[in-house]
Structure formats: structure tokens, C-alpha cells
Amino acid sequence: MNDVAIRTVDLTKTYGDVDALGPIDLEIHEGESVVLIGHNGSGKSTLLNLLAGTLEPSDGMARIFGSDPDSIHVRQRRSWLPDNPVLYDDLSLREHLEFTIRMHGGSGDESIIDELIERLGLSGREEDLPSQFSRGLRQKSAAAVALVRPFFLLLVDEPFVGLDATGRLAFLDLLEEARDGGATLVVATHDPEVIDRFDRGLVLDNGSLIFDGPAVDVRPYLSGSVLS
């Protein structure tokens, strides 16, 4: 068994008197690819934000590669693609990718930039400002920014919203390549067609983890018949 990439103990998030998540006890090992499903409001985004260090737990704790999710050690190794694309207003797509790769210590080979631009169908738009793109193109740009940097853990929230079929397939291929390269993946989605591409499935319902097992076994939960 590989080392633990993600460990949560009694991880809980509350907003006022609303219990958004938990308590969740979870271990995800390095190299695993995990799909996270659940209805709207089930706590998927909350869990991912806690793992991304953008939310602080109300109780319990989360550790990524043994460290605090907001530590610099973790930031070096974790890439986070939120559901709402976050992009600068004043940089072109290429400048976003160059800046991101350089902020992570890369200043040599930047051929990955051209490769990502081409594979995600962004050719011809690399000198444009993504802040002025359509929703789909912004999502692709954000995906490129998340994938261009080195990472050992990739957290992704609803990546396929707004993507066209080509972009969706390209992104799935890139995720598989990342997994084959040894990265740990945690992807929240509602898309039943991509479940088979993952090893392990987690199902959240009303903030509780109600299933943890092989990804193929989460299908019944997608229909909603099993969920409360």
C-alpha cells in the first residue's frame, strides 16, 4: 500500500447552526483516483475546499501528505481546480500558464504550455484574456492552469460544467495521464459517464460519507434512489 496522501479525522464544517459536512474520517493513498459524488448541497465542494485549504475545519483535522492543507509544503504538491474558474483580469492565457509554471519553480522547458493549449482546444486563443472568454473557454483555461504546474495531488470540483465534448474528452485523458504518472486524483462530479475511469468512489449525502468503495459501485447512488 502506498503512503497516505489525504487523511481526515472527524473533519467537520458548520456554518452557524447548519452542519455542512462531517464528521468525516477518510484515508486516500498516493496514486489513487477517487470520484466524489452526491447531490447538490451534499458537501462535495465543502470537502474539497477543506482539502484545498480554502476553508478551515470547524472541528477535526485534515492532513495532506502529512501536513496542514494550507502549508507551503502542500501548496507545492497539490493543484486545485475549483468549480468556478479563477483567472486574472490582466493576463493572457499564455501569460497565466507561464506565470503559474514559474511560480512553481519552472523556468526551463515550457513546452507543456503549447501541448496543453493544443490538447484543450485553446489554440489561437493563447494571447487573449481568459477573463473575457465564455464560460466553457474559461473552464478550459482554468484546467490548463491547474495542469501546467507540477503536482502530486489534484483536486477537481465539477470540471465538466460548460465543457464541449472535445474539451471533456481531452480533460479526461489528461486526468488519466496524471494518474498514470503517479498523481492522486480526487474529482467531484455529477457525470455518470466518467465514473468508470476512477478506482474508488465516495458518496456524500447531507454532509455524511455514506459509501466508500469501488468506483463502479457508486452508480446506484447517481440515480438518487439510494440517497435520502
Partner: protein
């Protein structure tokens, strides 16, 4: 505040006959230029659907209803002109009162003529705005007409031409020195423009109205919260002031990027500035230069103008840092301390301001330099650039004045002064950059060594700026320590 400041600038002694003649000659030309600027501002606002800002529900329910749009928009248009004219009249009355202190002609006469000119100027600005917004006359034509009229006023003011149409209207506030009936024709034309603008306002673009509705609502909320960064962003959106698609500084940002990514990123951001922002920063830097010259020549209060000019220019120049503040998710994804990243982002704004102020100093000195002004300018360019960026950094890195929960929990007696301090502190930091000019001016007056004095007093803005830059770097750590000490 304005009245006190203006009173201090103008003084109370009566003008000599020669000075009165100067006022009589150049006063109308300056007044005409002010009117021209209002026309340009109005035409530009109108070309983007301004100045009306309707409620979202009014746009959706009334402008899309089967009603003549002119009827729906007439009332708010008249209200805008009325409100603007009243404000203009109040400012005109104040100016008239100040004139009457020093020029013979009587308080009542100067106040009345000031009121008429103020109301006319405001009505002209709104009239041009509505005409441009109505699209009955193409907006670009209105902007060109406003620019031509302003250009003629500048030519008249610099004695290139002997007469300009707006200078004729500009004689109104100086009627107590000599009544010019021809200016009444100008007033009638302005009234005609305002009436035509209101009558044709039904041609307003729905797209513009919807965009303004959304942005103006947010802008009002940001102003209420005294959130300067949001106000700036929304104002830029209202003015369609978006980053350009071409990076003009690519020749610098590309080679520097691999080794100095934050400097390269900052240059890429500056390289995409729209033309209007380049012009604005240039004008502000030149304005700071001329205000410093006035300080050097003895008008000390102009240090406020100089400092405010660099502060506003720095708020533009600090955009790359502001982008990081606006996108915390991206900042938190980098394996660097936030403070370190923010501090490195201050390099490019300082370079921008240095460039602008060096050019400004060159312009001001080229127009006739008083003795030793070049040495003082060299010192001040450095201190003003650092202090300007420091002031802007305080504003951008600090939270919105009223957003912190602490403020909501504080008693008004504590929260009030704190809010005032947080509002005034950033511009005060920027103003401190011009302390060497005042020190040198005093040294010149007292016959002391100018260079040494300016250099010694430059320590004040330098210490303040370094303190602010250190605060930017260690702010998170300071907050953490304070929270820990308070047991939070």
C-alpha cells in the same frame, strides 16, 4: 473643507488693478476650459449610456414594456439635470463668494453670476451626456464636438486664438467686472442642448442601461462600504476601461519573466493598460510635478494636490498586486509566503511611478526651473514614487474600511475615528513623499543649504515607505501574533 482650502489658497487681500485686469482677461478663458472639460466628461459618459442609472426592475419592466421609452426616462433625466444644476449652482455661489473677497463688485453680484455659471455648466454637461446617450446624434460626434470646443478654449487660454465660444460663456462669473450680453446666447444654446437631450433620451441603448444598472448598484454598495478597490474596479467597468489584448511591454516582460516571474507578470499587466489609463497616469504625474512647483514657489497647500495625484496614479500602477489580492485562490496555490509575493509586486508600481515622475520633472523643469529645483526634483521623484506606492499599498492590501466584523462590533465613538484614520492614512503616506520640497523651500527662504536639507528630510518619507513595505511583507504574521496574543 473645500471652502477652507480654497480660502487659504486665495487669501483675503484685495487684488491690485493690474491683477484685476489679469483676472478679467484670463478668468473667462479658464472658466471656459472648465466648461469644456465638463462637456467632454458628459459626452464620454453619454456614449456609454450615462449618466442615468436606473433600477434593474425599471429596465426590465418599464424599458421592455410597450411604452414610449422617452416618457419613462424623461422624469429621471430632468431629475438628474436639476440635481446637477443645483450642485453646480452651489459650487458657483461658493466660488463667487471667494471672488468677492478680493475683487470689487459686491458679494451679491458675484454670488448670483457664480450661481448662473455653475448651473449652466452642469446643465451643459448633462445635456451633452443625454444627447450622446440618445443616439439621435452619434455619440462619437458629441465627443468630437466637446473635444473641439475644449481645444479652442485651450488655444484661447494660451493666446493662440483671440476668442473661443466657451470663453464667451466663461464671462458669466465675471459679469460684475463687465457685463457681456453675448454670453446669454451661450446660455440659451445650453438650455437648448439640455431640452433636446431630455426629449430624445428615449433612444437610450438597453444594453448600456442594463450594464450601468448592474454596475452602479454595486458601485453604490462599494462606496457605502468605503471599499476603494471595488469602487475602482467598478468605475473601470463602467467606463469600459478593460485591459488591452496586446502586451506593449512584451519585449521586457518575456525576457525578464523566467528569472523574475513577479516582475515579468507586473510588466505584462502594465503593458495591457488601455490608452485612457496611460493618459490618466501621465496627466496625474505631470499634475504632481506642477503642484510641487507651486509648493517650491511658496504655495504650501499644493502639497496635498501633489500627494493626491501620486496616490491616485499609484492606485492604477499597483494593479498587478491588486489582482493578486482579488484572486486569493490563485495566491494560495503558489508555494510562496503571501507577504513575500505581495512585497515583490511593489517593484513594478514603483518603477512605473518613477518613470512618470521623471518625465513630469523634465516637463516642469523645461518650462523654467527656479534655482536648485533640479536637485530637489531628483530627490522628490524618488521619495514621491516610494510614498505614492506605499500609500496605494496600504489602501489595496488593507481590508475595505467598513468590511471588518470588528468595526460592526465597536462603539461608534471608537469606530468613527478609526474609519477616518483608515481613510486618511493612505493619502497621507503618499503626501509625505513631497516633504523634501517643503523642507527645501523653507531652506531656500531661510538661506540654508538646500540640497542637504532636502536630503535630510527625505528620511521621513523613506522611513514611512520602508515601514509600509515591511508591513506588506509581515502583515499575516503580525495578524497571527496579535490574534494569538488576544487568545482568538
Amino acid at each position: 473643507m473645500l471652502a477652507i482650502f480654497a480660502s487659504g489658497l486665495i487669501g483675503d487681500e484685495a487684488l491690485t488693478r493690474a491683477q484685476q485686469a489679469q483676472v478679467h482677461k484670463y478668468g473667462p478663458e479658464w472658466a471656459g476650459l472648465i466648461l469644456g472639460v465638463l462637456l467632454v466628461v458628459g459626452a464620454r459618459s453619454g456614449s456609454r449610456g450615462g449618466p442615468l442609472a436606473l433600477e434593474a426592475a425599471d429596465v426590465h419592466n418599464l424599458l421592455l414594456a410597450p411604452l414610449p421609452r422617452g416618457r419613462v426616462l424623461r422624469r429621471p433625466s430632468i431629475g438628474s439635470i436639476g440635481y446637477g444644476s443645483a450642485a453646480g449652482a452651489a459650487i458657483g455661489a461658493l466660488a463667487g463668494l471667494l471672488f468677492a473677497q478680493r475683487i470689487p463688485g459686491g458679494n451679491a453680484a458675484f454670488i448670483a453670476s457664480g450661481v448662473l455659471f455653475g448651473a449652466t455648466a452642469a446643465a451643459a454637461g448633462f445635456g451633452f451626456a443625454f444627447l450622446a446617450a440618445s443616439r439621435r446624434i452619434p455619440a462619437v460626434v458629441m465627443v468630437v464636438i466637446a473635444l473641439i470646443l475644449t481645444g479652442l478654449s485651450i488655444a484661447n487660454l494660451t493666446d493662440v486664438i483671440a476668442w473661443a465660444p466657451l470663453s464667451e460663456i466663461g464671462t458669466i462669473p465675471f459679469w460684475p467686472l463687465g457685463f457681456a450680453p453675448a454670453s446669454l446666447i451661450g446660455v440659451l444654446i445650453v438650455i437648448g442642448c439640455a431640452v433636446a437631450g431630455v426629449s430624445w433620451i428615449g433612444g437610450l441603448s438597453i444594453e448600456s442601461a442594463q450594464r450601468r444598472t448592474r454596475l452602479v448598484g454595486q458601485l453604490r454598495f462599494a462606496v457605502t462600504q468605503q471599499d476603494l478597490r471595488s469602487v475602482l474596479l467598478l468605475r473601470r467597468q463602467l467606463a469600459s476601461e478593460l485591459p488591452g489584448s496586446r502586451n506593449r511591454l512584451r519585449f521586457l516582460s518575456r525576457p525578464l519573466g523566467p528569472k523574475f516571474p513577479i516582475v515579468g507578470r507586473g510588466l505584462a499587466s502594465i503593458g495591457r493598460w488601455p490608452r485612457v489609463r496611460i493618459i490618466r497616469v501621465g496627466v496625474l504625474c505631470v499634475g504632481a510635478g506642477f503642484a510641487s512647483r507651486a509648493v517650491w514657489l511658496g504655495t504650501t497647500p499644493m502639497i496635498l494636490v501633489a500627494g493626491l495625484c501620486t496616490y491616485v496614479a499609484a492606485l492604477d500602477a499597483i494593479e498587478p498586486l491588486a489582482q493578486e489580492i482579488d484572486h486569493p485562490l490563485l495566491v494560495d496555490s503558489y508555494p510562496h509566503e503571501r507577504g513575500d509575493l505581495f512585497q515583490r509586486h511593489l517593484i513594478v508600481p514603483v518603477l512605473v511611478l518613477l518613470t512618470g515622475l521623471v518625465l513630469s520633472a523634465a516637463v516642469v523643469l523645461a518650462l523654467g526651473a527656479p534655482v536648485d529645483a533640479d536637485i530637489v526634483a531628483a530627490i522628490t521623484v524618488v521619495t514621491a514614487s516610494l510614498a505614492g506606492v506605499a500609500g496605494a499599498a496600504v489602501s489595496v492590501v488593507g481590508e475595505a474600511v467598513l468590511s471588518a466584523l470588528d468595526e460592526a462590533m465597536m462603539p461608534p465613538e471608537v469606530a468613527g475615528p478609526r474609519v477616518v484614520f483608515r481613510m486618511l492614512w493612505p493619502p497621507l503616506v503618499a503626501i509625505s513623499g513631497f516633504i523634501p520640497v517643503i523642507a527645501a523651500q523653507r531652506a531656500m527662504r531661510d538661506g540654508s543649504e538646500i540640497f542637504n536639507t532636502a536630503l535630510t528630510f527625505s528620511a521621513i518619507p523613506l522611513v514611512i515607505s520602508v515601514g509600509v513595505f515591511a508591513w506588506v511583507r509581515y502583515r499575516d504574521e503580525l495578524h497571527d501574533s496579535m490574534n494569538e496574543a488576544m487568545g482568538r
